[in-house]
Symmetry: C2
Subunit: 275 residues, 2 copies
């Protein structure tokens, strides 16, 4: 881990750092907040949305006062591999900044876009070695990162104590963002996409390890009906007997102002399950 | 007031807006947060530091939960005139983004850089007409904006109920940033600078209208000893019998992570004096 800079915030310490990932074959950037004290601390991994880097949550979410209060750390990584030789696309919703938290199997993405392996292997090992973190983790995220949090939690339930999301892409097999990205990264066979669809995973009982799942969704979100579709999560949870709450927050949009308004409640939700 | 966009945040409403200023002769941008309810609300004006726009505080300070809790609005304007025909300088500490909250008398700045008149006349009139704001205001800011908050409060004590600052430029007549900017905007006669020096104004008794002044300063701030010099405020307050607290916050730097860590205490400080 190369620490680029540190800031004191909310009585704790924030580090901007990077490390070499074997999965992506690139240098991956992230921020790590540790609360006051010596640890080891349980921690949350935050997965950001389309176009984001490690900086969006870190500077805009205002989550660290709540994290300090609850004694949890927060790890906020970048959303894709980047750098020389890494494939990209001019669209905002594919390629760099849009990794979708899957391991790509298709050209030109397959060599570096291994984001599921990155998160579930390299990232966890690296941060737990370099920072005073306990091997007790939860995961949450926003939009594409909400999809990532839900699917990674259900695909690797042994790794995470709890999961929550803001405005997640609920069913990428049934929305334009998801269809485009999964088609590019996993190929045209839609059967391969199903294992990365949060609603379908819930319906298949894959969330059974989690006593509750918390979703916040703004009713003023411009992407709500075409891309996000939280009703598909509710329907799947009903079918599977899975406890899952979608809180529809009146008038909130898709921005970090929405996240900042409710992030302390998500931190508390996870802290209770990491205790 | 032209409203460009709005966001719901912390139960209130955030508007990015702009208006024509007679003082600067330009379109001036700002954000306005109003808490839940119908108002009229007392409000805080935030003055940002070098290189900032209306966006830095708005997205990074995390102040709106506290503002909502206390029922105060927050107005966060840009730090200088901008646009076609407005003078600028390639340095980060002069010209656009570095208005220093004075009315320039010197070429090429004098035509548009009338930031004291802008704040104390145009801005107040415009926001109180367009938003549900009561004519009860306080003022606070950071770095160059801490200088601005202190000096505008002392030069116009009838306009503001209270004043506080983060990491202010305490005495611009005695630091490189201040000497450069005041020299450029007000000319080489240093006597003209004295009326815009917070420490000298306090020493002259100009803060007497304020029962207390709250200053937060990080001890890890890279600009502390050369540019900021809060000890000059303390010395001036001692001489004048002015109540003023400089809280030295261990290890905090000059960034918005510092502001985010203590802004809710500043909001509470002002709310108590606006009640």
């Amino acid at each position: 881990m190369q620490i680029a800079k540190t800031h004191r915030v909310a009585g704790g310490e924030l580090a901007y750092t990077s490390h070499r990932s074997a999965s992506t074959g690139t240098e991956m950037r992230l921020s790590v907040f540790t609360p006051p004290g010596t640890g080891p601390f349980p921690y949350l991994i935050w997965l950001s949305g389309l176009t984001c880097t490690e900086d969006n949550f870190t500077t805009k979410a205002g989550a660290y006062a709540a994290a300090a209060q609850h004694g949890v750390a927060i790890v906020a990584p970048d959303t894709s591999p980047r750098g020389e030789g890494v494939a990209d696309d001019p669209a905002y919703d594919l390629g760099q900044g849009a990794g979708f938290y899957v391991d790509a199997t298709q050209a030109p993405w397959a060599p570096h876009f291994k984001m599921e392996s990155y998160f579930t292997r390299d990232l966890i090992v690296a941060v737990e070695a370099a920072f005073p973190l306990a091997p007790r983790r939860s995961i949450f995220g926003h939009s594409m990162g909400g999809h990532g949090a839900l699917t990674l939690a259900m695909r690797h339930p042994q790794l995470f104590k709890s999961v929550s999301a803001f405005s997640p892409i609920s069913s990428p097999t049934r929305c334009p963002w998801g269809e485009k990205a999964l088609g590019a990264y996993l190929g045209s066979d839609r059967d391969a996409w199903r294992a990365h669809d949060a609603a379908l995973l819930i319906e298949a009982g894959k969330a059974a390890a989690f006593d509750d799942i918390l979703i916040d969704q703004g009713t003023g979100d411009q992407f709500l009906s075409e891309q996000l579709k939280p009703e598909l999560l509710e329907e799947a949870a009903r079918k599977a007997g899975q406890k899952l709450r979608v809180r529809r927050q009146d008038g909130y949009d898709h921005s970090y102002f929405f996240i900042a308004s409710f992030v302390s409640e998500h931190v508390a939700f996870h802290a209770a399950r990491l205790a």
